[in-house]
Amino acid sequence: MAYYGTNGYGDDAMDTESSGPKVTVREVESGRCDFVLQNCPLALANSLRRVMLAEIPTIAIDLVEVESNSSVLPDEFLAHRLGLIPLNSMNVASGLQYTRECGNCDDHCEQCSVTLRLHVKCSSPENLLVFAKDLIMVDGRTDDIGKPVIRDSAGNGPLLAKLRNGQELKLSCIAKKGIAKEHAKWAPSAAIGFEYDPNNKLRHVDYWYEVDAKDEWPVNQKNAEWESEETAADFTFNPDAQPSAFFFDLEATGVLEPDEIVHQGVDVLQKKLAEIINGLTRSDEGMNGGMSPDGYEPAPAEDDYAYGRGGTTPYGATAYGQNGYGGY
């Protein structure tokens, strides 16, 4: 695809952005991906970071029906631990419905949920350890959505509880699709390291220090070396300089591969944008119908700006007045 800069106007050749974004993958290991995003606006890099943390749909246990629990842990305690068990979320975005949007059922069904059962009883004098591997998926789906993620060499998965002789756990769990903005148990990423300008050339940070900021705030050597000479700490300050490289260190929880998190993060962002374009088109059509009383209101001749008229917004003068915009 021809790309003519992030602004689409191609007129600011001096702008580093007109060469288009660049990505360098520096390190990959199981559940981790370290990459550098360059020639990209800070705003977009931060949107990507935010969306990868909080808005990628995954699956997690959301409802627990306890039939029997004679362990020392109360039901709520167990339900909370169950919610945090990582479940395989590959293809959840397209392959699973949100329960609240499912048109196929009144409560929940195999198109919008996965049921896992747990039934363990300790019948020996030695304590019985209950692991995520003991969660059994019930019928339903042909894919692996909702399967507990097990990555330890023993093949156990996270420890859920310990049972004494005679204690029993019998429960069924309903796992649903959700996002981390609602509850952190749906987070696909455990942490995302995000840094730009490691030498603080742009002076976006004013370091607090006891004696010497240089000693007390060690720089990330790997990132600092990546930067060009002009961004070295002792180079002269340029107030117009823009951040040029964003260092991402993405650590996944295991429910999705790190690559998948990046791709889906961008997907989620694009879906949001497409949804607004839809809304805009719909409201355009509404206006062209000419039926809307508030649809088009010419500005008063003596005042070019609608926001100057204070009282015309439902929020009064403050919404667009002198101190209304805290957002940017």
């Binding site: 288009g20 977009l44 649809g295 940017y328």
Partner: protein, 133 residues
Amino acid sequence: MSNSAERDTEMANGEAEEDSADEQELLLGGLEKLVILPGQTSHAASFQIEQEDHTLGNSLRYFINKNPDVEFCGYTIPHPSETKMHIRIQTWEDTPTTAFDALRKGLEDMIEACDVVTEKFTDARDGFEASKQ
């Protein structure tokens, strides 16, 4: 309010649209994703976007401001416990670009920039894999 009047015209426009409107309503609990706030003119308008925050707001503001026809663009989240984001756009009066055009252009530019980011990430990731062998 303008909201209900717009809905009326929409209903009159036909069945297909009614379906998509219903679907949207279901997702947002009966709220419109995008509402044009009162007081708009052709070159200046404020939009209310439902269920968005700084994740979209700041980037969208950036992309709209990139447009040389745009005089002003800013966003705000008026209340922390309402999931609404407001975005204000004013374009220069001597350009044919309306506030609506500027919003649409900003949205499209950001979609395009996102496309490039995934594309470049895929290339870089494949390149990394190849370099290990």
